[in-house]
């Protein structure tokens, strides 16, 4: 098992390449689209590693994400839709307000995305 990780001042993103889970923690409010590139790269790698299996995006510990971040994640979901390989599961938390408000938008981008707010 290998875990690939991106760490910022206020966040950590971890990709576990045996469980095919990408976990987001903290607050992600980066300045530019370019600042989001490493995160997109990590997601693309996770997508490749998941093959035709299940890829899980776990947001349950992500307190905040700005609209540029919502854009980056949404772009990734659209790219995955175009390849149509993985089955994607998105985990959110009932206790985190933005997730209740906005996470379900991802399944409107691609109906195969299963959003579970737990």
């Amino acid at each position: 098992m290998a875990v690939q990780e991106i760490k910022g001042d206020e966040y950590v993103i971890e990709h576990n390449d045996s469980s095919h889970v990408v976990g987001f923690k903290g607050t992600i409010r980066l300045q530019t689209t370019d600042d989001y590139a490493p995160i997109t790269d990590l997601l693309q790698k996770a997508h490749g590693a998941a093959g035709k299996g299940k890829l899980t995006l776990d947001f349950r510990q992500l307190q905040f994400l700005n609209s540029s971040g919502i854009n980056a994640i949404s772009k990734f979901v659209i790219a995955a839709r175009k390849e149509d390989k993985v089955s994607m599961v998105v985990l959110g938390s009932q206790d985190i307000y933005w997730q209740q408000k906005s996470l379900s938008n991802l399944s409107k981008l691609w109906s195969k995305v299963q959003v579970d707010i737990v």
């Binding site: 001042d9 700005n66 772009k75 933005w98 408000k101 938008n105």
Partner: protein, 194 residues
């Protein structure tokens, strides 16, 4: 150039004092400072969100209002507004003003920054697109477009707020000095939407 202010959308002339409000707050800062120390956007929005949410028991909408829901909503909203002042200010004036008004059933926020006159038309065009279309449709259209092209900005800030948080926006453009236009962005939320 006309010196008159132009307004768009849900604009309201809000009182300069606290009269009639539950609370009224104001802060002044500098767009260059926000851009250079980017986390100040997040910090300022978290501070004002928490500060404002403490008034939650004073809202009256016929049911208790969850303080954490108010705080989270405002943190997202204000961060988007502060980020925009940091990203899009230009010209000789760097002042940024934050102001808020809390009423028993609604909240109003106003953030002011300054731009070069040449930037106005593009922004107005975008505002008219936002105000004249269904936010839901526009949101998904924008995302699909962003996925096709490698655009610098994502153009989702106002849209997410209108679509997911039912925020209503007003805008005012006022020429203030040679080469500078003040942009006031107002965000209005009904407490019952939270």
């Amino acid at each position: 150039m006309t010196k008159e202010a132009k307004i768009y959308g849900n604009w309201e002339d809000l009182p300069a004092s606290a009269g009639g409000t539950i609370s009224h707050s104001r802060m002044e800062t500098d767009s260059r400072q926000l851009a250079e120390y980017w986390r100040r956007c997040s910090l300022s929005s978290d501070f004002w969100a928490r500060y404002t949410a403490l008034s939650s028991p004073e809202f009256s909408v016929g049911r208790p209002v969850r303080r954490d829901a108010v705080e989270s909503t405002l943190s997202y909203l204000l961060n988007e507004l502060f980020e925009n002042t940091a990203k899009f200010s230009g010209g000789p004036v760097a002042a940024v003003v934050y102001e808020s008004w809390l009423f028993p059933d609604r909240m109003a926020f106003q953030v002011t920054n300054h731009i070069e006159p040449a930037r106005r038309d593009g922004f107005v065009q975008l505002i008219e697109e936002l105000l004249g279309n269904d936010p839901d449709e526009l949101y998904f259209k924008r995302l699909e477009e962003n996925a096709e092209t490698d655009q610098k900005g994502s153009g989702l800030g106002y849209l997410t707020l209108m679509k997911d948080y039912k925020v209503r926006f007003g805008f005012r453009f006022t020429p203030v000095a040679e080469g500078s236009i003040a942009v006031d962005v107002q965000a209005h939320i009904h407490v019952k939407e939270i």
